[in-house]
Symmetry: C2
Subunit: 462 residues, 2 copies
C-alpha cells in the first residue's frame, strides 16, 4: 500500500522503514504539497502493521517537518519541499595503468621490518590499561606533559641539546608543525625564506596560502645565507644538520650569521631536524637551537625513527610564540590522541628509543655502504655523492649529464622509481645533474640489483 514494502527482521525498524519510504516519495514529488496522508488506522491496516508503528512513523515525519497536522484533520504534506533536479554525478577519474615498480628508490621511508612490534604492542596495552578517566578528556594543545619531559631528556642524551619540558609542544608530525608555524608566523609584506632545493612540505603550505617566498641557494655546505633579505622575512626554514636533499652541514659561521640576522630583523628560524639520529661517521651535529634558542623553532619527528603511521612529533618553541601556538592548535586538530603519547613516553623512559636508534643506525649504515659499493662497481668515478654521511637518502652527481621529467618517466616505465634533485628546486633549473635515491627501506639485494638496473638503463640511453 502506498508503495511501501516492509522488510521484517531487518536492522531498520518497521516504523523507520515507513518513515523513510514516505519521506522519499514526498521529496521525489510523488506525494504533493498539501496532499493528505492516509489515517494511521488505514495505513496500519493496509500494511499489516500495528497502529502504534504507523503513529511512530508519522511522528518522525512531523518532527522533521515533512507533514503538518491539525486537530481532527488528516496529516498533509508540508509546503516547499521540492528539490532542484539533480545534476549528473561527476564520474570518478579513471586510474592510469602503470608499470609495476621493481626498484623503488623513493625517499623518506624507514625500514619498518625492524620496528620492535611486540614491545610497542605491550606498551600500548599497558598505556590503555593505566590511563585515568581524566586522561580521556580534552587535555589542552601542549601535549602529554610526561612525554614533553622524556623528549627533553632524549634530546639531551642524543643531541646534547638542553631543552626545558615547558618549551616542548607535541605535534601530529613535522608536516603538521610546519602547517601551524605558517599559520602563526606569517606577516603582511614579509616572505618565508626557504632553501632551494628543499622539501615541498612547507613550500606547498605557504604557496597554497598565497604568502610570498624567498629562495636561498644551496651549495655543499647547505643554505647560502648571504643572499638573505633579512628585513623582508618573517621566517627562514632550514635543514642545517643534513640539508635536504643535497646533504650539506651548515657550518657554524653561517649559523651565527643567520642568528644575528634573525635577532636584528626579528624573524624566526625554523630548524627541521628530520633525520639527525642517523649519522654514520660521528655523533649527531649540534642544532642551531643550541647556539641560541631565542629565535629558533626546533622541529622534530618520530616518523623516521619509529613509524610514519604513529603521527607524533614535537616542536621546541621560544616563549613568545607559545600563546599563539596554543590558540592555533586549538583550532586545528586540538591535541594529539593520548594513547600512543603515553606509550611513547614509556618507550623513551625505558631507554628503548636509544637502543632502537643505535641498532637502526648500524643497519642503515650498512645499507649505505652497500649502496656506495654498488655505485663504485657500476658507475665508478663518473658518479659523485654529495653531502654528509647520514640519513636515509643520497644525492648523486652524474658528471656531464642532465636529467629531466622525461628521464623520470622512462625510468618508471623500466620499473625504477627515482627522484631528481631539480624537482625540489622551485625554478627547476638547478642541479640538473643530480639524482636522489632513498635506500632506508631497501634490502641489500634490492640496493645492489636496483643500482645495476639503473646503470643498465642509463647506459642504454647513452
Amino acid at each position: 500500500m502506498w508503495g511501501i514494502e516492509l522488510r521484517y527482521k531487518a536492522e531498520v525498524s518497521l516504523a523507520r522503514q515507513i518513515f523513510l519510504s514516505l519521506k522519499q516519495r514526498i521529496l521525489a514529488g510523488e506525494i504533493s504539497q498539501g496532499e493528505a496522508l492516509p489515517s494511521t488506522r488505514e495505513l496500519a491496516k493496509g500494511l499489516g502493521a500495528s497502529r502504534n508503528t504507523v503513529c511512530e512513523a508519522y511522528d518522525m515525519l512531523l518532527t522533521e517537518g515533512f507533514i503538518v497536522s491539525h486537530q481532527g484533520a488528516p496529516s498533509r504534506v508540508a509546503a516547499g519541499l521540492h528539490l532542484t533536479t539533480k545534476k549528473k554525478p561527476v564520474p570518478a577519474a579513471k586510474k592510469q595503468e602503470q608499470a609495476p615498480i621493481l626498484w623503488d628508490f623513493k625517499t623518506g621511508q624507514p625500514d619498518l621490518s625492524q620496528f620492535p612490534r611486540q614491545l610497542w604492542s605491550q606498551l600500548v596495552h599497558a598505556a590503555a590499561n593505566t590511563l585515568t578517566t581524566q586522561q580521556l578528556e580534552y587535555s589542552g594543545p601542549k601535549g602529554y606533559e610526561p612525554l614533553c619531559e622524556e623528549i627533553a631528556h632524549w634530546l639531551l642524551r642524543s643531541r646534547s641539546m638542553e631543552v626545558k619540558p615547558e618549551d616542548v609542544f607535541i605535534t601530529s608530525g613535522a608536516t603538521a608543525a610546519l602547517h601551524l608555524l605558517v599559520n602563526i608566523l606569517n606577516k603582511a609584506g614579509h616572505a618565508f625564506a626557504l632553501e632551494s632545493p628543499s622539501h615541498p612540505g612547507i613550500r606547498t603550505v605557504i604557496a597554497d596560502r598565497g604568502y610570498p617566498l624567498q629562495w636561498l641557494l644551496v651549495d655543499e655546505q647547505g643554505a647560502d645565507i648571504s643572499t638573505l633579505q633579512g628585513k623582508n622575512v618573517c621566517a627562514v626554514y632550514v635543514t642545517p644538520s643534513h640539508q635536504f636533499p643535497l646533504g650539506g652541514i651548515l657550518p657554524a659561521g653561517r649559523r651565527a650569521a643567520l642568528l644575528r640576522l634573525a635577532s636584528e630583523h626579528d624573524f624566526y628560524i625554523i630548524e627541521d631536524d628530520y633525520d639527525s639520529e642517523f649519522r654514520y661517521t660521528g655523533p649527531p651535529v649540534s642544532p642551531i637551537y643550541s647556539m641560541d634558542s631565542s629565535h629558533v623553532i626546533y622541529v622534530g619527528t618520530f616518523s623516521k625513527t619509529l613509524f610514519p603511521a604513529l603521527r607524533i612529533g614535537f616542536v621546541v618553541l621560544p616563549k613568545q610564540l607559545q600563546k599563539s601556538w596554543r590558540h592555533s592548535r586549538n583550532y586545528m586538530d586540538v591535541q594529539n590522541p593520548i594513547l600512543e603519547q603515553a606509550a611513547l613516553t614509556q618507550f623513551l623512559h625505558m631507554r628503548k628509543m636509544d637502543k632502537h636508534v643505535q641498532r637502526m643506525r648500524r643497519i642503515y649504515g650498512e645499507k649505505r655502504k652497500v649502496l656506495l659499493n654498488s655505485l663504485e662497481n657500476t658507475f665508478g668515478a663518473s658518479v659523485q655523492q654529495w653531502g654528509d654521511a647520514s640519513g636515509l637518502h643520497l644525492a648523486l652527481c652524474f658528471q656531464e649529464m642532465e636529467f629531466g621529467k622525461q628521464f623520470v618517466h622512462d625510468c618508471r616505465d623500466a620499473g625504477i622509481r627515482i627522484s631528481l634533485v631539480t624537482q625540489y628546486c622551485p625554478m627547476n633549473d638547478h642541479h640538473k645533474d643530480k639524482l636522489l635515491l632513498g635506500y632506508g627501506h631497501l634490502s641489500h639485494i634490492q640496493i645492489q640489483k636496483g643500482i645495476q638496473a639503473l646503470y643498465e638503463f642509463i647506459a642504454e640511453r647513452a
Copy 2:
C-alpha cells in the same frame, strides 16, 4: 685545563663534553676568532684523557665549522661566530588564582566514567598485534579503508543514512574537519554563513584567516534560511539535527530551501552532526545529507560517543571536493594514526558501538530528567527550556532576566561554571535571557546540588 672539567660515567661521552665545553667558550667569545687551540696531545695530557678522545672532539668542532685546520698548523677558531647580545627572556605570564569550581556546567563533555575501558584496551592490543608492517607506513589522506566501511554501515544503522565508503574520509575530529573545509572551500569575494548563536570552532578558523562571515539568525526551529545571501556565499555551516546551542530541529521546508539555494548558487552546506546519537524522545533526526548529498558535507565525530582524546572523526564528501581534500590533508597532519583507527573498526564491526550508544542514551536521558526535575523544583515556571530533547546540554530561558559577562564572573566566584547563549552570538546582543548548561559529565547529585546552588545564587542577586 682550558676550563674544561670532565665528568666520568656521565651519559654524555668525554669527547662530547670536551666538544661542548670548547664550543660554548667559542660562542661566548672567550676563545677569539683566529685563536689557536692547544694540540690534541697537549690537551689530552692536560685533561688526563686519551688523545683519541680529544681528536674526536676536535673532529666535531671541525665538522660543524667552529675551527679550521691546516696541514701542520694548529687548529684555529673560525671567523664570524659571534652572536648578538641576548635579550632578557620574556617572563612567564603569572597565572591568575581563581576560586575552585564546585558546580561545573561546562558543555561538550561526555560521561567518561562509562566508557568501556577494558574492551578498548583489548581492541587496541589486538590491533597492535595484527597490524602489518605495511600498515605502519604512510597510507594516504583518506583513512583506514575498513574503518570507512564500518562507518558507512554504522550510519545506515544509526541514522538510516545511505553513504558510500568511498565518500567517507577519516579526520582527527570535527574541529580538524572544519579547519580543512575552510581551507578548501574559501572563495575570493564570498562569505561563510554561520548560525548566530553558534559554536566558536569554525568561526574562529574563518576569522583568523580573515575571510568574510555572514550570519543567519536562529529561532526555535534553527537557522532562518530566508536571510541567506546565496550568491555571495561559498559555504553555509549548520547544526540542523540539534541547533547548537538553542536546540531547534531544522524543518524539512527550510532544508529543502537551503538545498535549492546551494544548487542554484553552487555553494556547500557543512552539516555538523555533533550529538545526534543522543536523542531521548524518538529516533535520530534525518540528516540533510539524506535529502540531497550533492552539495552537502556531513561532519561526524567520535569525541562525544567515545572519548575526546581519541581524536577520530569523519566527513562524507561530495566527489568534486575529494581531490582538494586529499591535497589539503597531505599538507596538514597527513593522515590519522593507524592504531586506534583499527581498534575503532573492530568496535564498530562487533556492534559494540551500538550497544554503548544505546546505554549512554539511557544514562544521559536519566540525567536530563534529573536536571529538568531540579529546575522544576527550584525555578519552576520562571524558566523555560529551549530545543529538542537531545544532546548533552540544555538552553534555558529565564523570563525577564538579562545575563552578561559580569554574571558569569560572579557565578564563577560562587563556584559555578556556566555559559551564556549570548556568548555564542557574534554581536553579543541576542538571547541575553538564556543560559547554557552542560550536564553529560555530571552525576545526579551534582546536577541537583548544582541547580540548587544556581537558584540560590540568582535569588540572592535579585
